[in-house]
C-alpha cells in the first residue's frame, strides 16, 4: 500500500457553522495534525456556512464540523471535531511519518 508522501500539495476544506466551541476545537486540531504530518505542503480553507449557506450543497455537507480533502484525489470526508487523531489520519489516508516500524503485514 502506497503511503501518501507529504510532497504533493494538499487542499483541505473545513466546513463550520459560526464560531462555536466545536469549530474552534476542530480548527485547532486540524492545524496541529497538518503541521505534524503535512509539513507546510497544504492549504486550509475554512468555510463558514452561516455566511455562505449555498456552499453546503456542493460538497454535500450534513454534519458540522466536516473536513473535506479536496486534493489529492479522491475526495475524502471526515466529520467531527477531529479530536481522534488516529481516525483523522485514517480518514485522510495519511500515516504519521514517525510511526513506521509496524509494517502493515498480512
Amino acid at each position: 500500500m502506497k503511503k501518501q508522501k507529504p510532497g504533493k500539495s494538499w487542499e483541505l476544506r473545513l466546513y463550520v457553522a459560526g464560531q462555536t466551541p466545536k469549530s474552534i476545537l476542530a480548527f485547532a486540531n486540524l492545524k496541529k495534525i497538518c503541521e505534524e504530518h503535512l509539513a507546510g505542503e497544504y492549504t486550509i480553507e475554512v468555510i463558514d456556512l452561516l455566511e455562505n449557506p449555498q456552499l453546503a450543497a456542493g460538497d454535500q455537507i450534513l454534519a458540522i464540523p466536516t473536513l473535506v480533502r479536496k486534493l489529492p484525489q479522491p475526495i475524502k470526508k471526515i466529520i467531527g471535531d477531529l479530536s481522534n487523531t488516529e481516525r483523522v489520519l485514517v480518514g485522510l489516508d495519511l500515516r504519521p511519518s514517525d510511526v513506521n516500524e509496524s509494517a502493515v503485514g498480512s
Partner: protein, 573 residues
C-alpha cells in the same frame, strides 16, 4: 421535576389542504398545519409520489412553494419518476415554486472523528426554504440518515431538534419512512412525529393489486380508522372516500326519455326519472347494448353528455354495431356529448374501477352514465364486493344527480347469475328485463318492466325488435297458446285477420237475411192490411145497410103506430 401542564385542545387542529383528491375529504381538511406528518409504508407503496404531489399541488393550486429534500433518489431520478405523471416538475422548479435537493449520505465516505451535529443539514434546509419562501417541506426518506451516519444517538437527537425547528418555522412537513417489521417505521420515527401518521399499503390478491391508505393517528382530529382504497393514475393520487351512505340525496321529479318512444310510453308515458338507477338485465344477444346506445343518443339530442363504460366491446365495435341498427353514435362522439371508455374488467380490481369511474365522471361531468355490462365485475370480485361497490357507485351518482343505466348479463342456465342480479335489483329504481322467447323454430326477444319505483308502468310484455331503423317494441299476440312473438305472431295475426274477415262476411250475410225477412214480413203485413181494408169496407157497408134497415123499420113502426092511433095523441084532456 416540574410537571408540565397539559393544555386541553379546545379547537380543531388547523389543517392544510394537500390537494390530493379524496385525501382532504377523509382527513376533513388535509394534514396539520405547521406540523410534521409521517407517511410510512413498504417499498413501492407510493410514499415519494404522495409527498411530491403534496408539494406540486401546493404550488399549483394553493400557490405555496415547497422544498423537496431527497435522501434516496437523486434529483435526476426524481424528475424522471415525476415525468410519468403530469406534474411538470421542471416548470415549477423554474418558477421557483419548487426546489428539489438531494442529500447524499454514504456511510463509507464518512469517517467519524469526534463530536459533531447535523447543523449542515439545517443550514441547507434553511437556505432552501428561504430561497423560495417555502411553506411546505418534504423529507424523503429521512431514515437514510441512520444508514449513513455511524452515531444513531446523534441522529435521533438531531431529528428531534429538526422537527421542533420545522415547527418553529411554521413549515407543514411530510416525512416518509420505510415500514419496519414490528414498528410502523424501521427507526421508530413515529415516536417523534406524533401529530399525524398515515400508512400506505400495496397488496396483491388474486392477481389484482390494490392500494390502501390508513390514518393511523391524527391528533386533535376526528378520523375514520378504516382503510381507504386509492390509486395512482397519471394525474396523481386518488383516494376513494367512503361516500356517505346516508340515503339522503335530493331527488328529482324530472323525467327523461329512454330514446325508445314505446318504452317511454310503458314507463308512465314519460320515461325514466332523472338521477335514477336503471338495471337492464337480459340473456346474451338480447340487445342490451342497443338500449344503452339509444339512451345515450337521446341524451345527446338534448345536449346532455353521456359516459359509456364498456367492458366487452371496443369503441369502434360499438359504433359499428349500433350504426347497423340505425343509431349514429359517432355524431355525438364528435360533438363531445358522448365518451366511450372500453377496458377489460379483469385489468383492475373493483376499487380501481370505481375510482377510475369517479375520476372520469369528475373530469367529464356527464348527465348519464352507462355501464355495459356489470356482470363482468363478478370476475374480479365476490358478489358481496360487487354489490358494495355498486352501492357506492349508486351513491356517488345519486349525489350528483346522474342517471345510470347498467346492463347485466343473465343466463337461464346459470342460476348464480340470476340470484346476484336479484341482489343488485334491490339497488335499482327501474328494472327492465329482456327475455328470449323460443317458439315454432323462432327465437325472439321480449322486454318488460319488472319494476319502476315512483311511477305507473305497464306490465305488458312487448316484443323487442331490432331493425335497421332502430328499436321497435311491438304488441305481442296473447292467445290461447300463450304469448306469441316473431313469425308465430305474424302467422297468428294473419290467420286471425282471415278469421275476422270471414266472420265479418258471415255477419253481413245474416244481416242481409234479416233484411230480407223483414222485407217479406212487411210485404205480408201489407197484404193482410189491404185485405183487412177490403173486409172492413165490406162489413162497414153491411153495417150501414143493416142500419138503414133498422132505421127504415123504426120509421115504418112509427108510421104504423101513428096510423093506428089515427087520432094520435090529441091534446091531452
Amino acid at each position: 421535576m416540574a410537571k408540565v401542564p397539559v393544555k386541553p385542545i379546545h379547537h380543531m387542529l388547523e389543517k392544510v389542504q394537500t390537494g390530493i383528491r379524496g385525501f382532504d375529504e377523509i382527513t376533513q381538511g388535509g394534514i396539520p398545519k405547521g406540523r410534521t406528518t409521517l407517511v410510512c409504508g413498504g417499498p413501492g407503496t407510493g410514499k415519494t409520489m404522495m409527498a411530491l404531489e403534496f408539494l406540486v399541488r401546493g404550488a399549483k393550486e394553493f400557490k405555496e412553494p415547497g422544498v423537496f429534500f431527497s435522501f434516496e433518489e437523486s434529483v435526476k431520478e426524481l424528475r424522471e419518476n415525476a415525468a410519468s405523471l403530469d406534474f411538470d416538475v421542471d416548470e415549477l422548479c423554474k418558477s421557483k415554486l419548487l426546489l428539489i435537493d438531494y442529500i447524499k449520505v454514504e456511510r463509507d465516505e464518512i469517517e467519524e472523528t469526534g463530536e459533531y451535529d447535523l447543523e449542515g443539514m439545517f443550514i441547507r434546509l434553511d437556505h432552501a426554504i428561504n430561497t423560495i419562501g417555502a411553506k411546505r417541506v418534504v423529507l424523503d426518506t429521512i431514515e437514510s440518515l441512520f444508514a449513513g451516519l455511524p452515531n444513531a444517538a446523534i441522529v435521533r437527537a438531531e431529528l428531534r431538534r429538526l422537527f421542533r425547528w420545522l415547527k418553529d418555522k411554521g413549515m407543514t412537513t411530510i416525512v416518509t419512512g420505510e415500514r419496519g417489521n414490528e414498528t410502523l417505521t424501521r427507526e421508530g420515527l413515529e415516536e417523534y412525529v406524533s401529530d399525524c401518521v398515515i400508512s400506505l399499503d400495496h397488496r396483491i390478491s388474486e392477481q389484482v393489486s390494490t392500494r390502501r391508505m390508513r390514518i393511523v393517528k391524527y391528533r386533535g382530529s376526528k378520523h375514520g380508522t378504516n382503510e381507504y382504497p386509492f390509486m395512482i393514475s397519471d394525474h396523481g393520487f386518488m383516494v376513494l372516500p367512503i361516500t356517505s351512505m346516508g340515503l339522503d340525496h335530493k331527488v328529482s321529479t324530472e323525467r327523461i326519455s329512454t330514446g325508445i318512444p314505446r318504452l317511454d310510453a310503458m314507463l308512465g308515458g314519460k320515461g325514466y326519472y332523472r338521477g335514477s338507477f336503471i338495471l337492464l338485465s337480459g340473456t346474451a344477444g338480447t340487445g342490451k347494448t342497443s338500449v344503452g346506445a339509444k339512451f345515450a343518443e337521446s341524451a345527446g339530442s338534448r345536449g346532455e353528455r353521456s359516459l359509456y363504460y364498456s367492458f366487452e366491446e371496443s369503441q369502434s365495435q360499438i359504433i359499428r354495431n349500433m350504426a347497423s341498427i340505425g343509431i349514429n353514435l359517432k355524431r355525438w362522439l364528435d360533438k363531445g356529448l358522448l365518451h366511450i371508455h372500453s377496458q377489460r374488467s379483469t385489468l383492475y380490481g373493483l376499487e380501481h374501477h370505481l375510482m377510475h369511474m369517479q375520476h372520469l365522471i369528475h373530469e367529464m361531468n356527464p348527465s348519464i352514465v352507462i355501464v355495459d355490462p356489470i356482470s363482468n365485475f363478478y370476475e374480479v370480485g365476490t358478489p358481496k364486493d360487487v354489490k358494495l361497490m355498486l352501492s357506492r357507485l349508486n351513491d356517488m351518482l345519486k349525489s350528483k344527480g346522474i342517471t345510470a343505466l347498467l346492463t347485466c348479463l343473465t343466463s337461464p342456465s346459470n342460476s348464480s347469475l340470476e340470484s346476484t342480479t336479484i341482489e343488485i335489483s334491490s339497488l335499482s329504481d327501474t328494472w327492465l328485463l329482456l327475455r328470449d322467447i323460443e317458439l315454432d323454430g323462432d327465437r325472439n326477444r321480449a322486454m318488460y318492466i319488472l319494476k319502476s319505483r315512483g311511477m305507473a308502468h305497464s306490465n305488458q310484455i312487448r316484443e323487442f325488435v331490432l331493425t335497421s331503423r332502430g328499436i321497435d317494441l311491438l304488441d305481442v299476440y296473447v292467445g290461447p297458446e300463450g304469448v306469441l312473438t316473431g313469425s308465430s305472431r305474424i302467422n297468428r295475426e294473419a290467420s286471425e285477420a282471415e278469421f275476422q274477415s270471414s266472420l265479418k262476411k258471415k255477419i253481413e250475410y245474416l244481416r242481409m237475411n234479416l233484411e230480407k225477412r223483414r222485407g217479406i214480413l212487411d210485404a205480408e203485413i201489407a197484404k193482410i192490411r189491404s185485405e183487412f181494408e177490403i173486409e172492413k169496407q165490406k162489413i162497414t157497408d153491411l153495417i150501414h145497410e143493416e142500419e138503414m134497415k133498422l132505421k127504415a123499420l123504426a120509421s115504418t113502426r112509427r108510421a104504423m103506430a101513428s096510423s093506428r092511433k089515427a087520432d094520435g095523441p090529441k091534446k091531452a084532456r
